[in-house]
């Protein structure tokens, strides 16, 4: 088995055993990125010194821990690719925007800090839709990322670079962020596994905010078990994020192999009807019957509020984004337009030249819904709808243990294909409600149509990641969708 086709936990085991070293693994993946990424465009930046120094440091620490007979962290020595909206101290963090093209944070995101503490190795910074606003990674200011399964298609977004890197086996693991589906939808398009944790499970400190009440950092990997391991590394209370949860989060990896016997799966009818491509629906239905074989019961549930989740999502996310992105004004860091004669010109030109069209559209919508006279009609109403969506999910998750839906209504679409605003929004139709309710959800591969992966989404109760990971893991024990490798990255099936 080639090194880069191994799951992360297997790499970690080999590093622990001493049959591989962290610097060797890092070199191998850096080499693979160098070879393949010109065709994919998953990375915005790799930094050999940054990666290798971390790998050497990790290896020294692993050796020391072993010598002292102390436990070694489960993913020690394993490389991880980072979405470029996660701040990395001393390493450029651009959010795929001209605005931050030359921005180097003097701090690490808490999640990044925790990677280092667990002796993981940063592999590079991944492409994304600018400021995480998009569903295709076409809105990157530095060019699109291509889907490893079909380079004429998008990898999904906004964490498209992270998902494509994992799919093309250029990285064993990646971190993404998910505001309305930005981990799950690209995981689905790229045939990998992605977890959007419960709101508050992972600190947002150092993740450049898109919509503060919806954003979460989460893992993207080849298997549910790898995602569980990475999730356990980054999660937990952080004093720098007031919205990080102060609870003991249950173990995920330890019990991931427990049988699913008796697990009750609910299938919201709102996400299985009109608008879902027949091939996607068929793949999901086939997956559901495999879950029956695993001892689960499957029943249809109805959550009427889900029909209004998309407008509520756009109102809330754009309102927060408009405000969050106001700090990019050319004064203290980031891009500044040259030659402005006065402050207003400086603002206008900096922001107009620094932001792409999609970012501007969302800022304008966010400005619109918060304007005097519109606040109650839009923003407050969206907050009320959030109550209904959350209550609807709570009710459904009272009778079902987890819910399952397609992750996206369609497989990966062609680059440049979705030109109008609304058809792009539709790519998020099955995922946004989960963020509105703050719930955890996972996407994992459940089939192919025309050579393109299809993803299954499982949604859980607050801090119920363990059940989602267990379900995905059980499914991955009896299926092989997740081990298929896109032809582009040579080697075929692992």
């Amino acid at each position: 088995m080639k090194l880069f086709t191994m799951p992360a936990l297997m790499l970690a085991r080999k590093i622990h055993e001493g049959s591989l070293t962290a610097p060797e693994v890092a070199e191998a993946f850096l080499g693979r990125v160098k070879e393949l990424d010109p065709k994919i465009g998953a990375f915005l930046l790799t930094d050999r010194a940054w990666t290798l120094e971390a790998a050497e440091r990790a290896q020294r620490r692993i050796d020391a821990l072993k010598a002292e007979g102390k436990p070694v962290p489960p993913l020690a020595g394993v490389p991880v690719a980072l979405k470029d909206n996660l701040c990395t101290r001393g390493v450029a963090t651009t959010c795929a925007s001209r605005m931050l093209e030359n921005f180097t944070p003097p701090y690490d995101a808490t999640a990044v800090e925790r990677l280092f503490e667990s002796l993981m190795v940063p592999l590079g910074k991944c492409n994304m839709d600018e400021f995480a606003m998009g569903s295709s990674t076409e809105y990157s200011a530095f060019g699109p990322t291509r889907n490893p399964w079909d380079p004429s298609r998008v990898p999904g977004g906004s964490s498209g670079g992270s998902a494509a890197a994992v799919a093309a086996r250029m990285a064993p693991l990646a971190l993404g962020t998910d505001t309305g589906g930005s981990i799950r939808q690209p995981a689905s398009f790229c045939g990998v596994t992605g977890l959007k944790p419960t709101y508050g499970a992972v600190s947002r400190f150092g993740a450049v905010a898109y919509a503060s009440s919806l954003d979460q950092i989460g893992p993207i990997g080849r298997t549910a078990a790898d995602c569980a391991a990475l999730f356990e590394v980054v999660r937990g209370r952080d004093e720098r994020d007031a919205t990080s949860a102060d609870i003991d989060q249950p173990a995920c990896l330890r019990d991931i192999g427990a049988p699913l016997d008796g697990m009750k799966i609910g299938v919201p009818s709102q996400y299985m009807g009109e608008g879902i491509a027949p091939a996607v629906r068929q793949a999901v239905e086939a997956a559901l019957s495999r879950f029956r074989e695993l001892g689960c019961s499957v029943t249809e549930v109805s959550i009427p509020a889900l029909d209004y989740a998309l407008p509520a999502y756009y109102i809330l996310s754009c309102a927060e984004a408009g405000s969050n992105l106001s700090r990019f004004d050319g004064v203290r860091y980031g891009y500044r337009a040259q030659g402005a004669g006065d402050i207003d010109e400086l603002y206008l030109r900096t922001r107009s030249e620094g932001f792409g069209a999609e970012v501007k559209r969302r800022i304008l919508l966010g400005t619109y819904v918060l304007c005097a006279g519109y606040y109650d009609e839009y923003y407050k109403k969206a907050l009320r709808m959030r109550s209904l969506v959350k209550a609807g999910y709570e009710k459904a998750l009272g009778s079902a243990d987890i819910l399952m839906t397609p992750t996206a209504p369609i497989p990966a679409f062609g680059i440049g294909e979705k030109v109008d605003e609304l058809s792009m929004c539709m790519a998020d139709i099955c995922t946004v409600s989960v963020n509105i309710a703050g719930l955890p959800a996972i996407s994992f591969p459940c089939g192919f149509t025309d050579g393109l992966p299809v993803g299954l989404q499982a949604i859980g109760r607050p801090f119920g990641e363990a059940a989602l990971l267990r379900a995905a893991h059980a499914y991955q024990q009896i299926t092989d969708w997740h081990v298929r490798v896109p032809a582009l990255s040579e080697g075929g099936r692992a």
Binding site: N85, L86, R204, F205, S213, A242, T243, S326, D329, Y333
Partner: protein, 482 residues
């Protein structure tokens, strides 16, 4: 037509916490530019605010001190506008659910004609927010420099109802408010450092009318004098506009205290749409039960009740009590000196007279004088015991205490300032004075007894103030009448 003015105030007071409201930067005043900043208060990407518990408590303390209701659940909101001194391009403030609402402040003041009056102003709300940075305009011609040391210092904004009817009342309100905030330990209220600033909303209407006219707002007045003058000037300006048949435009104006006039900054049409919404980075604040009780229990005695207590317990005149209680450091010094055995009225006289003058002249702080309240008590007692004369005590001794922090007894001994009541010494001085002023002495003997004062003055002078006055006067008379 005769007009009356209607004034409402918005007061911003910086809270005296050690660190900023959302980050761990120091709040200390006067540091080098941008040495009290960090990625959070510079609004670098991905950073998040975490609210300072003591800022919340100080806001609640201010609310309790002003008789406000404390909200069972409060929340921070974002006020969005672009300005270079506002790093996030939104100020985290409170609009929808402020910490404190309601409340009143009563205070005495003298109106324009010097007549004593009672003011009663309702407080609409007190909310918590963050300060902005500082723009420095005048050093470099083409640029504005930005210092964010003050950005993120916690503020409370106190909004009154439009209950004020004169500039004097406005000034007295702010003066009393400042005293209460200092007492409550909430703010240092250093107006010259900008830690207390007032915005004036003022409209006028025909006297006796109960409708409100169009108001203007004047921002960032940073002395009580400026508040009084700005209100006077704005009243005159609006009166002139109406008398010339014009209309008042709702606008924001800037007061230029040096020129004594205000200028338009922007009209309502140019005003921002702040697009307030609840800040999603911060969770609700619930000050209830034990927490509220603890804050209430920690609230110190406020000037109003303290003043009444001074009159009742120490037998001080209202006037003295008012002055001594105007500042917590002064009243603490007073009370400590009395506790150390000083006579209340005598201690009060020392403080209100010479000490306050010297403290003011030398820009000192009653909380950090070079001598202790016990030293003042000793000095007061030495006067009562006849050891030193009152003039020597208030002069040379007090001076040396301020100068070098020397104990009063040590000063008296070292400089030989002990009062002289020894008969032989005083009689000799009296004889010398009579000898040196034969004409005046004769006038006395001729029945012009009021020249005794002049001769006594000479005795005091000759004794360098040390002569015990009663004894000296008695001996002087004896010598004159020989």
């Amino acid at each position: 037509m005769k007009y009356e003015m209607v004034i409402g105030l918005e007061i911003h007071a910086e809270l005296n916490t050690r660190t900023k409201i959302f980050c761990s930067c120091s709040t200390q005043f006067g540091a080098e530019p941008n040495t009290h900043v960090c990625p959070i208060c510079l609004a670098m990407p991905g950073t998040l605010p975490v609210l300072n518990r003591q800022a919340v408590e100080k806001c609640v303390t201010a609310g309790l001190a002003l008789g406000c209701d404390i909200a069972p659940e409060a929340h921070m909101d974002r006020k969005n506008y672009f300005y270079p001194d506002l790093p996030k391009a939104y100020q985290i403030s409170q609009l929808f659910r402020p910490l404190c609402t309601g409340g009143t402040l009563e205070f005495e003041y003298e109106d324009e004609s010097g007549q004593a009056r009672i003011g009663r102003v309702r407080i609409n709300r007190i909310h918590l927010e963050e300060d902005a940075g500082k723009s420095i305009h005048d050093l470099y011609g083409a640029s504005t420099l930005l210092d964010f040391n003050r950005g993120g210092v916690p503020l409370i904004e106190i909004v009154t109802e439009p209950d004020i009817r004169s500039p004097e009342e406005a000034g007295a309100f702010v003066d009393r408010l400042r005293s209460i905030l200092r007492y409550a330990g909430v703010s240092d209220c250093q107006m010259q450092e900008g830690s207390l600033r007032a915005d004036i909303n003022l409209s006028i209407r025909p006297a006796g009318s109960d409708t409100l006219g169009t108001r203007t707002e004047m921002k960032n007045l940073n002395s009580i004098r400026a508040i009084v003058r700005a209100a006077q000037a704005e009243f005159l300006r609006q009166t002139e506009v109406l008398e010339d048949g014009g209309v008042i435009v709702q606008e924001t104006r800037r007061w230029d205290d040096a020129k004594g006039r205000s200028l338009r900054m922007r009209t309502k049409e140019e005003a921002n749409d702040y697009r307030y919404f609840p800040d999603p980075d911060l969770l609700p604040i619930r000050v209830d039960g034990d927490w509220l009780r603890a804050i209430r229990d920690a609230l110190p005695e406020l000037p109003g009740s303290k003043r009444r207590r001074y009159v009742a317990d120490y037998g001080l005149p209202e006037y003295d009590a008012g002055i001594l209680t105007s500042d917590p450091a002064i009243s603490a010094f007073f009370e400590d000196a009395v506790a150390c055995g000083g006579d209340a009225k005598a201690v009060s006289n020392f403080i209100m007279g010479d000490m306050m003058r010297i403290v003011r002249e030398r820009e000192l702080d009653f909380a950090a004088l070079p001598f202790s309240p016990a030293d003042l008590a000793t000095l007061v007692n030495r006067v009562a015991e006849g050891v030193v004369s009152i003039s020597v005590a208030k002069g040379a001794v007090l001076n040396q205490m301020f100068e070098a922090g020397e104990r009063p007894d040590a000063v008296i001994e070292r400089m030989g300032l002990r009062q002289v009541s020894d008969e032989d010494t005083l009689r000799a001085i009296a004889r010398d004075v009579i000898r040196d002023n034969p004409g005046v002495a004769q006038e006395y003997r001729d029945g012009k007894t009021k020249v005794l004062g002049f001769l006594m003055g000479q005795v005091m002078k000759k004794s360098r103030g040390k002569a015990q006055p009663a004894a000296a006067s008695q001996l002087l008379k004896e010598e004159l009448e020989k």
